[in-house]
Symmetry: C2
């Protein structure tokens, strides 16, 4: 299948969109960025047009020609299955895929959604949670998830240059944007040496470098 | 591959464990339940033995012989890939798999983790959030996710007797436990007629029926 017409609704600082940008780059697929300004006046993700496309009013959304794909992990697995590209993001055996997906889901299910913008907005709006407590909240869930992630990396000989062996996979694609978030919230990465080492490896690759928030067309 | 030696660390009322029980039943795979009492004295998920197996200290964990698989979605995809079983939980095309995974991830990423036990415990312990507000919090995230889930079901001709066509899939496996949770928190399901209809269809199947919380060996 050719990759004509891949378009990604993205926000420069959204870590879910960042994941998909890395995946597209690793697979060497050309795509157009359609910026959705989450921080703009009222939040563009809540506009009627975008809500029609993505009723969760969250980024990212991928358009593949006329096809609409939602949810970052579903998008990445779709890309990996539909396009051969330069890199496979999931390993060849069910056993290894389970390890990679399990690592990715620590980030995607158990860290990121709890510290997401809409949750922090709820805490502020409904509970009057002060900003210092919202920051502590964010750090808490990142740290708890990273402790598990770190031990699963450090204790398993399958860990190589990257999370699974010596090629980047879905696990690295999810980890790197979460490390970016961790830094934003002031989590000390010295506690997580394997995570920090793998982030450094990943950011040497142009696919990760080009996907970075600060390299996006909608970055301020 | 034979399914000798599948053992599931489970808690009767955990909706993540409930998902995996449904998947095992739909695939017709025999398994042993190893109960982990999340509500027990201190929470058995925090015991040193269990934390060694699952450093996130969350259920479920699947043992397949000596192999340890963590994270409910990784477990379910592993089972679907490793065992032919009676039913395939993911459809045959990348496009349809993306829809099913996208629906499942609304529940698994954007509803369930935010209302999970450890998050409610944090709100109570750190923010002194009263119980009425914790309940409102839980209902809010369920309702927000279900609004999107309902519209994606209602607007798409791919929706059939179940979320994707006329066979149960990963999307139903994730939806039904979340509906159980919704009821626990007092969400009015009349707002979500397609979700309610599909839940009713699912619970007619013995695979779903046997997986229900009240039918577990560790239910009180």
């Amino acid at each position: 299948m050719s990759a004509e017409g891949l378009r990604l609704y993205s926000y420069w600082r959204s870590s879910a969109a960042y994941r998909v940008r890395i995946a597209l780059n690793l697979k060497g697929l050309p795509y157009e960025i359609l910026p959705v300004n989450l921080a703009g006046n009222g939040g563009e993700q809540h506009s009627a047009d975008y809500a029609q496309l993505n009723p969760q009013e969250l980024v990212p959304t991928l358009l593949d020609g006329g096809r609409v794909i939602r949810q970052s992990m579903a998008i990445i697995e779709y890309l990996d299955e539909s396009y051969d590209g330069e890199t496979k993001l999931l390993p060849p055996t069910a056993r290894d895929r389970a390890r990679v997906r399990g690592l990715a889901q620590i980030v995607v299910c158990d860290i990121h959604p709890i510290g997401n913008l809409r949750v922090l907005q709820y805490l502020e709006r409904e509970f009057n949670t002060p900003s210092v407590e919202r920051e502590r909240w964010s750090r808490h869930w990142i740290r708890e998830g990273f402790e598990a992630f770190e031990s699963l990396l450090a204790e398993n000989p399958a860990t190589g240059q990257f999370c699974e062996g010596d090629d980047p996979s879905l696990a690295d694609v999810c980890l790197v944007p979460q490390v970016y978030n961790a830094r934003r919230w002031g989590v000390d990465l010295a506690e997580f040496p394997t995570i920090a080492r793998i982030e450094t490896e990943c950011l040497k690759l142009p696919a990760f470098e080009r996907a970075r928030p600060e390299n996006q067309p909608d970055a301020p």
